[in-house]
């Protein structure tokens, strides 16, 4: 059997916490003006202003969490609860985590750096918050919360982070280093990210949003959701726009071969694009596929959720209606600002899913 089984998953988007809100509605912009003291470049964003980690997890152990950590811990809990992993039976020596990010929490690091500039003495920083300045803080807290002692990795991949995380998880499972990997990505909405997207994003970009989505992956499908990630391939096209496009076409080709899938079975291409007519990912994908499936531009759906855009888009797809039986596969693509590219082939669950044995 090719690929890895998704034995549970969850997501947090502006639609709410968990899979159910995505099944009944799409993430829409929310009024974010009251979220922060600092000014924001936009009055609304695809964020979740009402998300409160204390309500969801309690006070104990959560007071030092930054927003990204809180989103990751809550999302992983929901994903694990929907999977065969028994959270009460920990610690789990053979269950690990791989978390995708862009640079951890820009807000946590920048605020910490700010303290060294504005305090009376430059060292008057809060030691309890120091781990939040390190990119693996969120994955470490997920492990602590649920007793996950297996391979614990954080990957800084930006738009590729989710595909990188799935690729990394797949390797861990294939090599037998762990039996179960919770793989996903998180990105918080903060003034820091909102301004960064506003000031440095491409002209046609979508405004910043926030999301987390995690998928419990294993080699065997016991108790699974029925969905599978059949293959994933990542690469790099050095030297500019053209080589990166070629590299993406090559990744899609490799992903199809690894999956043992015919390109005609791909019913939708989920890209990181902000517009349906943005061809930076869809174009190279179509060159590999040889036909034009439906294009789902994830940043249009979700806002610019950085590292979490692809992960949350997969959650939207899994929560939605099944693709037709003749074209049951979803191609997920990613493309970075430099030359990083990647692709994954996902088979959804649902009644029309053919039996792949």
């Amino acid at each position: 059997m090719s690929g890895v089984a998704i034995t549970g998953w969850s997501a947090i988007t502006s639609a709410g916490v968990g899979a159910e809100p995505l099944a009944v509605g799409v993430p829409v912009p929310q009024d974010v003006r009251a979220m922060f003291d600092d000014p924001l470049p936009v009055p609304s964003a695809r964020a979740l202003p009402g998300f409160d980690v204390r309500t969801l997890l309690g006070r104990k152990g959560t007071s030092s969490f930054d927003r990204a950590t809180a989103l990751a811990v809550v999302c992983c809990r929901e994903a694990l609860r929907s999977s065969p992993v028994d959270l009460d039976a920990g610690p789990h020596a053979r269950t690990g985590v791989v978390l995708g990010t862009s640079l951890g929490s820009f807000k946590s690091t920048s605020d910490y750096s700010r303290e060294t500039l504005v305090q009376e003495r430059p060292y008057l920083v809060n030691p309890v918050l120091f781990p939040n300045t390190v990119m693996n803080g969120a994955a470490g807290q997920v492990a602590i919360r649920f007793g996950l002692r297996g391979v614990n990795a954080t990957i800084a991949g930006g738009p590729l982070a989710f595909l990188n995380a799935v690729r990394y998880a797949r390797n861990v499972l294939d090599r037998g280093y762990a039996d179960t990997m919770v793989a996903g990505a998180v990105e918080e909405f903060t003034p820091h990210r909102a301004w960064a997207v506003q000031l440095a994003g491409e002209p046609d970009t979508a405004p910043a949003g926030e999301a987390a989505a995690f998928f419990v992956l294993s080699r065997t499908a016991d108790g699974g959701s029925g969905a599978r990630i059949l293959s994933v391939a990542t690469g790099y096209g050095p030297g500019g726009t053209m080589p990166a496009g070629t590299a993406l076409t090559s990744c899609v080709g490799r992903a199809l071969r690894q999956a043992g899938a015919d390109s005609s079975a791909v019913g939708a291409v989920v890209t990181g694009s902000a517009h349906p007519d943005d061809d930076r990912e869809y174009g190279p994908a179509v060159r590999a596929l040889g036909h034009h499936p439906e294009h789902v531009p994830a940043r249009r759906l979700l806002g610019d959720c950085g590292a979490a855009t692809g992960a949350a888009a997969l959650a939207v797809v899994l929560a939605g209606p099944a693709l037709p039986a003749a074209r049951p596969l979803v191609l997920l693509t990613g493309r970075g600002a430099d030359g990083a590219v990647g692709a994954a082939i996902v088979e959804g669950s649902g009644d029309e899913r053919p039996d792949r044995g």
């Binding site: 640079l103 690091t109 120091f130 300045t133 470490g140 002692r149 297996g150 990795a153 991949g157 790099y236």
Partner: protein, 401 residues
């Protein structure tokens, strides 16, 4: 079974740039610690770090424009370029799709974060320089290596803090043994920054002037920086091009404490050592040298030393910490440890723990190779890496059999 060769070393360190300079400094027990210049340390009680003053990006980088890449990315790409040159690898003979870049880091482009923060403090969020914002994403560290060397394989930045370059070496090993790769450039990079200096000071983990791992009176780390990249190949690829094989990657082990965000966990670290030994098919009595995580904090060295005694018994192999010379280079630390281990194997010496004066009575049997390098026949070396988040990673390296 596919075997993994180390064929080139690329250290960009405070004690030397390039393998010959770095090896000479390790043998001499030279210190790379100096008064901080990359930020104004005024107001900090402690003002020393292991900065790399001699790195000239323009001289080391052929394709990357230093104006558009942050310092950590430049370290990574410069170190990778050096590793390729050290290994005499003609990149035009390599299948670019089977050549990958895997780089570990703790804080990515931390100096870019700090420059942007100064702009926010000075003029508000809207005053940030878009060019600097584009340098911010940490994935650029691996991307810089791919771009500089023209590699089309995976370009992966592992952000597992201070063990990250052991994660990178481990993933590189897997890419090679699973048939995905001919060549991987793997290691790590980080830059000295103000916020980490402040944070470690407030944790009570920052030393005053020098770092003295395993010494009874050790007082903490000094932050450091640099890039440390190794050229890894399959034996088949290395032999086909008649490359000199410096050492073999035997395997690695990872686990997670799942216990505390910053405090190391003896039980978990011992378990990680056993996992690394099992994956590498090595027995404890075959290990000739342990390149310690050895940060120089009272807690780390005690926990690491006890875990070693638990796994190896009362007479463990020599355990030294090169952090005594270069400081804690964070995401590059395990890369430097791996390079030091490969040099130990290839050149037959143990790097010393400098600044050492008195044995720690709580660590009986731990031989830190005090102050002076020592000739030794190293057949198997263990390179330790532990991190915030409980991210333990240990890589096993061996002489070519």
């Amino acid at each position: 079974m596919v075997r993994v060769a180390v064929t080139g070393l690329g250290p960009v360190s405070s004690i030397g740039i390039g393998a010959p300079a770095f090896a000479g400094a390790l043998r001499a027990g030279r210190s790379g610690i100096s008064h901080i210049t990359s930020f104004d340390p005024a107001g900090f009680p402690h003002q020393n770090a292991g900065e790399v003053h001699a790195f000239d990006p323009g001289a080391h980088l052929r394709r990357l424009d230093p104006a558009t890449w942050g310092r950590s990315s430049q370290f990574a790409a410069g170190a990778a370029r050096l590793a390729v040159e050290d290994g005499r690898l003609d990149l035009s003979t390599v299948d670019p799709g089977r050549a990958h870049a895997v780089i570990g880091t703790t804080s990515g482009e931390s100096q870019v974060v700090e420059a942007l923060t100064a702009q926010i403090v000075g003029g508000g969020f809207g005053a940030q320089d878009p060019g600097l914002l584009r340098q911010l994403p940490a994935n650029r560290l691996a991307n810089a290596v791919s771009e500089e060397l023209g590699l089309c394989g995976e370009s992966l930045t592992l952000a597992t803090a201070c063990s990250a370059s052991n994660y990178a070496l481990g993933y590189a090993y897997d890419l090679l043994v699973s048939g995905e790769a001919d060549v991987v450039l793997a290691g790590g990079a980080d830059s000295v920054c103000r916020w980490a200096h402040a944070g470690f000071f407030r944790l009570g983990a920052l030393a005053g002037t020098s770092c003295a791992p395993f010494d009874r009176n050790r007082s903490g780390i000094l932050t450091g920086e640099g890039g440390a990249v190794l050229l890894l190949e399959t034996f088949e690829h290395a032999r086909r091009r008649d490359a000199r094989i410096l050492a073999e990657v035997l395997g690695y082990g990872l686990n997670c404490d799942a216990n505390h965000p910053v405090s190391p966990d003896e039980r978990s670290i011992a378990e990680c050592m056993r996992t690394a030994h099992r994956n590498a098919d090595v027995k404890p009595d075959e290990v000739d040298y342990i390149c310690a995580h050895g940060t120089g904090t009272p807690a780390n060295d005690l926990v690491e030393g006890r875990a070693i005694l638990e796994v190896f018994g009362p007479e463990p192999p020599p355990v030294s910490s090169i952090k005594s010379m270069i400081g804690h280079t964070m995401g590059a630390a395990c890369g430097f440890g791996a390079i030091a281990s490969v040099l130990a194997i290839d050149q037959g010496f143990l790097p010393p723990t400098v600044n050492w004066s008195e044995a720690d009575p709580e660590l009986p049997g731990i031989d830190p190779v005090p102050n002076t390098a020592r000739p030794a026949d190293v057949r198997v070396a263990q390179n330790d890496g532990f991190a915030f988040g409980g991210n333990n990673a240990i890589v096993m390296l061996g002489a070519v059999r």
